[in-house]
């Protein structure tokens, strides 16, 4: 065989291999769908079943139809901490203090301009004692905080391995199998919404309860909020509660100067809130 013959045979064999492979793929697909697969289903098809289920579920949910967001009304929050407890139960967040996907802050603005911020969620339950009313406090209120699910997320920009990303429906997720736990995103988040999960040693954060919202449920914190201080909805739908929230209130976002374009909108937000 000389050089010319070899090159000609090579050129001819490539399309032949491609066609064979395409035929084989079709045959495999037909076998999996057809009734003939039942006989072989025992071992190889069993692990495939959940994947197929997930696939049909994913097919029913079209992420391009949604752009999720949350509304928080400061005037309604009573600081009961139920959202924090529900979030921990729903998402298996470590129960020890200082690990939160959502948390509540108490702001106290004093007469001399001093602003005191206290994380309510790390405090033990208060019991019988009634706190003294400090006459120097001009105004005081609760601010629920969570991942703002920014449309321009700084955490996604800094991730060196592409483990954190924005889904098509606007939720920022972390791929815990890609995350190397370098903590860059925790540093980059202007809202302090991320933490390093002590069990997996990967970055962890609010997912808007992605497993719930894709099934038509509300996030756990919104579900349990007793005063409707939290509203969940879809920016792409005029009928959603979020659209009404935006129409009825003067809404603002946290740290607008960072140009992160958060999808968590606050109503009645005091200018001192950072």
């Amino acid at each position: 065989m000389n050089k010319r013959e070899f090159l000609r045979d090579l050129a001819l064999s490539i399309p032949a291999v491609g066609m064979l492979q395409a035929l084989a793929r079709d045959a495999i697909a037909a076998a999996a769908e057809g009734p003939a697969a039942d006989a072989a289903a025992a071992a190889p098809a069993a692990p495939a079943a959940p994947a197929a289920e997930a696939a049909t579920e994913a097919a029913a949910y079209d992420p391009s139809q949604h752009w999720w967001g949350m509304g928080v009304d400061i005037h309604r929050c009573i600081g009961c901490n139920k959202c924090v407890e529900a979030c921990k139960a729903e998402n298996n967040v470590p129960q020890e203090p200082f690990y939160f996907r959502t948390w509540i802050e108490r702001y106290s603005i004093k007469a001399d301009g001093d602003v005191q911020v206290q994380c309510l969620s790390t405090q033990p339950p208060r019991g019988e004692d009634t706190p003294n009313v400090d006459p120097n406090v001009l105004r005081t209120f609760f601010v629920p905080k969570l991942c703002n699910q920014c449309a321009h997320p700084p955490c996604v920009q800094v991730c060196p391995v592409g483990a954190t990303f924005q889904t098509e429906d606007g939720v920022v997720l972390v791929d815990s199998t890609y995350c190397i736990g370098c903590r860059y995103c925790i540093q980059a988040c202007p809202y302090g919404a991320r933490f390093l999960n002590p069990d997996t040693h990967t970055a962890d954060k609010c997912t808007f309860c992605y497993h719930r919202i894709t099934k038509g449920l509300q996030p756990a914190c919104v579900e349990v909020c007793p005063t409707q201080a939290r509203i969940f909805g879809d920016f792409k739908s005029e009928e959603s509660r979020l659209a009404r929230f935006e129409r009825m209130n003067e809404v603002s976002v946290l740290k607008p100067d960072m140009n992160t374009q958060p999808k968590v909108r606050y109503a009645h937000l005091d200018g001192e809130v950072r």
């Binding site: 492979q21 005037h75 309604r76 139960a89 729903e90 706190p131 791929d175």
Partner: protein, 245 residues
Amino acid sequence: MKKVPEQLRRLGLVIGVIVAIILLLRFVILPAHMFQNRPHQHATELREMAKPIHHAGMPACRQCHEDVYETKYAGFHRNISCENCHGPAEAHVADPKNVKVPRPTKREFCYTCHAFDPSRPNGFPQIDPKVHKPHKRCITCHDPHDPVPPVAPKSCEGCHGTIWKTKALSSHAQLECTTCHTVPDRHMEDPRSALPSKPETREFCGQCHGKDATDAAAPKVDLASHGSSYLCWDCHYPHAPEKRR
């Protein structure tokens, strides 16, 4: 035109074949999902979606407990989901016979929302646990599914206790709240939907404190010369007028 040299044509042929092979590999032989923009991202989405649900949601509770839902819907707790008090209930929905949800009965449980806290919004029903029927369970008097207060607050004190106490010790103690504020009826039922009015002009205070006013007990000032263009409450706190701001 000059003829293309033989060696260039051969080189061109080889390069063409290589390009053809690459194109064939990319578009025909290798499966399309290898070139998807974000395969691992899609896998993460699927993994997140597959996570178990713990809170079933109020519609699920309603399917069996319609009677409780009806009671609750008519009362003040209408917007509170069942799982707020009873905890995550998906396991109970899946197996109602064997898994029961907790039924909180302790007094401390209600403190979570109803113990007084200065940061809570005005008008939210709050109690001082030490003063309000100590050592008695809340559910003895209040049905948690329809928490009607045994006595509806008649006076403004029920919600605006701090202002009430301040005013009671001031020289305005004799005045009713309604002397200065017009309170719509709806404010008693849904406080934020109808807010009471507030005085807006110097002349309002002048009705008592102007030099021509008939009320003998009120100290008099000449509105034209006193305080120039400032509003009265820029310097005097109306609920405690002796205190200067």
